[in-house]
């Protein structure tokens, strides 16, 4: 590898990073959008290039500044994080295609270029978390992505966006602090921050109190960031009051990246034997995951604000992902990764469709949306595709996730989990049905003027995401093969 190809790991992060100050200097919304969009397209191309390189050459390592690991900061790309990088950058690109019309309606003039600046920083942070091979560097990027997402959420039109953002700030900071305390304890015990080096040094001292404490702090901190029940309280408000573009982007990517870090720390750095045989991580993750599946879906049923409904549904879906992790087998981790990918697609499609509705009627409450099915047929088609995918109807991406999850549960001999997964999916039927009933079977509320279809610049990306939900339900090669190869890389010791 020579030339540009050798530097792709650095460019993956620094191209969006460079875009952020340029947006600030641009000062105009249109120009700022163009800068971020180009950066995001380049990031997607880079991620695709990296994924290709990991298939060709295996794991890639890039020492920043030429300082060799473990002293310097090293970026490490293998199939596992190439998969996450691809998801984050692709979703960001599609959401940015959708952004201009939505941002013009929802965000005050004069702040729009700042919005794109924050978006670029958030993208930088998420990509950085995924790509770095340095435990402290994860924290730095975690803060970059979190601080920018607090600002993005606070830009929401409703006044409650500010309190939602503040709540997220408090909870997110606690999560990040826990993570940092854990990393600090590990550094104290091993004298290294490099992930591969940590992995080599931890087994010798794994029974010491500080390492146990570090493991607990890191797990809880990341669970908070990933909004695992009962640490999900920041999520519904944050998703509900954020601008629609932000909801779509963050719901599809932010919690997923934290789950990836959880996978990396649990399976690669600490090792499955330590986490699941010496310590009871299996139950620690399994119980909240199952409760999340039910509590999230159950709360979603009672929401009248559809963005909140989807936010609670995210809590439930994170439960499915963590369930896969808790199974601690290669099949379970692969199922978790497949659902990370597919859930990203569903939530992006659904939140984008809701953004289209908000763009036309200024509300996403169920009663305001009554009868829209006839007036905005294309948007509704996207919403239905996303909703079916969320349920796990065959021929959609969601079905594939559930299929692999159930298969992994069977493989682990936990047939009762299969029953629980199916039962909780039934709850999803209830809230998705409520949505469809309002859209197609309720009469149009009196006094509402005729509603036009959403503008093409918003509709096309939404339909693209909806089509992806169906495409990846039919042709599962990309997510399944990448996830299965990623799972074998992440899990360095088989325990079952």
């Amino acid at each position: 590898m020579s030339g540009l190809a050798a530097h792709l790991p650095a460019l993956q992060v620094v191209v969006p990073l460079f875009a952020a100050p340029l947006c600030l200097l641009a000062g105009r919304a249109g120009l700022a959008w163009l800068i971020v969009f180009v950066a995001s397209c380049l990031a997607t191309a880079t991620a695709a290039g990296l994924a290709y390189q990991t298939f060709q050459h295996g794991t890639l390592s890039y020492p920043l500044g030429g300082w060799a690991a473990p002293w310097g900061i090293e970026y490490v790309v293998d199939t596992a994080n190439a998969f996450i990088l691809l998801l984050v950058s692709a979703i960001s690109t599609v959401v940015l295609m959708y952004a201009p019309a939505s941002v013009d309606r929802e965000i005050r003039q004069g702040r729009r270029h700042l919005f794109y600046c924050m978006f670029a920083l958030c993208l930088t942070g998420l990509l950085g978390i995924a790509i770095t091979g340095d435990a402290f560097n994860v924290f730095v990027f975690l803060e970059i992505s979190s601080l920018s997402s607090y600002a993005l959420i606070a830009l929401g039109g409703h006044r409650k966006a500010l309190t939602a953002s503040f709540q997220y700030l408090v909870m997110g900071t606690i999560g990040a602090t826990f993570f940092l305390i854990g990393v600090g304890l590990l550094y104290m015990m091993t004298g290294t921050l490099n992930m591969a080096d940590l992995q080599a040094r931890i087994p010798a001292i794994q029974d010491s109190r500080p390492v146990l404490a570090a493991f607990a702090f890191i797990t809880v901190g990341l669970a908070l960031k990933a909004a695992l029940f009962p640490l999900h309280l920041w999520l519904p408000n944050a998703y509900a009051y954020a601008p629609n573009v932000v909801s779509a982007f963050i719901a599809a990517t932010a919690t997923k990246v934290s789950l990836y870090v959880l996978l990396r720390f649990t399976f690669t750095i600490f090792g499955a034997k330590f986490a699941f045989l010496d310590l009871p991580l299996h139950w620690v993750l399994l119980v909240p995951a199952v409760i999340a599946m039910f509590a999230g879906s159950f709360s979603a049923i009672f929401q009248r604000d559809v963005k909140r409904m989807l936010a609670y549904s995210s809590v439930a879906q994170i439960g499915y992902i963590v369930l896969g992790i808790a199974l601690s087998s290669a099949a379970g981790v692969a199922a978790a990764l497949i659902h990370i990918f597919n859930h990203g697609l569903m939530k992006a499609a659904l939140f984008c469709a809701l953004g289209c509705i908000f763009h036309r009627i200024g509300s996403v409450r169920l009663e305001a949306m009554a009868g829209l099915g006839r007036e905005m047929p294309w948007t509704m088609a996207a919403l239905v595709a996303g909703g079916f995918s969320l349920l796990g109807v065959p021929l959609t991406a969601g079905f594939i996730s559930k299929w692999y999850l159930i298969e992994a549960a069977f493989e682990a001999g936990l047939w009762w989990l299969v029953v629980l997964v199916v039962l909780s999916s039934m709850l999803a039927v209830v809230y998705v049905w409520r949505l469809l009933e309002a859209l197609y079977f309720k009469p149009v509320p009196e006094g509402r003027a005729a509603v036009a279809e959403a503008p093409l610049s918003m509709l096309l990306p939404t339909l693209l995401l909806a089509a992806a939900n169906i495409y990846f339900g039919l042709d599962t090669r990309l997510p399944v093969e990448m996830a299965q190869s990623a799972a074998t890389i992440l899990i360095r010791e088989q325990i079952w």
């Binding site: 650095a10 620094v14 500044g65 030429g66």
Partner: protein, 138 residues
């Protein structure tokens, strides 16, 4: 604060020295204790002191908010740009050794430039934060 003569005179006397000290911390950072972050905070402290004593309006005249915002971006661009410089000269990202023919001199130049970027961004950010909290309108 027109009647606080002591404060006004003392501030006027102090500000040049604060700025000079900030520049010392900035540019001596690669030989002794110091660096961009500390220097930026000290540099901004001079402006904040000026703003506290002589009023926000005067401070805004000295450091126009539009310019300060641009400086936030420019500092980061300088830092990231030096990183790209390393790439263009055939090294890794942020490899300063390749910036000049002599690797040690290259390291010096690189750290000097990125620390200046850090200093610029930190100073401008501190001043912006002061303006935002003091003004509550921009």
């Amino acid at each position: 604060m027109k009647h606080h003569r002591v404060l006004r005179v003392a501030a006027k006397l102090l500000i040049p020295f604060i700025l000079l000290f900030a520049l010392y911390v900035q540019f001596h950072g690669d030989f002794g204790p110091g660096g961009g972050f500390q220097a930026g905070v000290i540099f901004a402290a001079a402006f904040i002191l000026y703003g506290l004593i002589f009023g926000l309006e005067n401070a805004r005249k000295v450091a126009p908010p539009a310019l300060v915002t641009r400086l936030v971006a420019l500092g980061l661009l300088l830092y990231a740009g030096v990183g790209y410089g390393g790439l263009l000269r055939g090294g890794n990202y942020l490899d300063y050794g390749v910036l000049l023919e002599n690797s040690v001199a290259g390291q010096h130049l690189g750290i000097l430039l990125i620390e200046f970027g850090v200093g610029t961004t930190v100073a401008a950010t501190m001043i912006s934060i002061f303006f935002l909290f003091a003004g509550r309108d921009t």
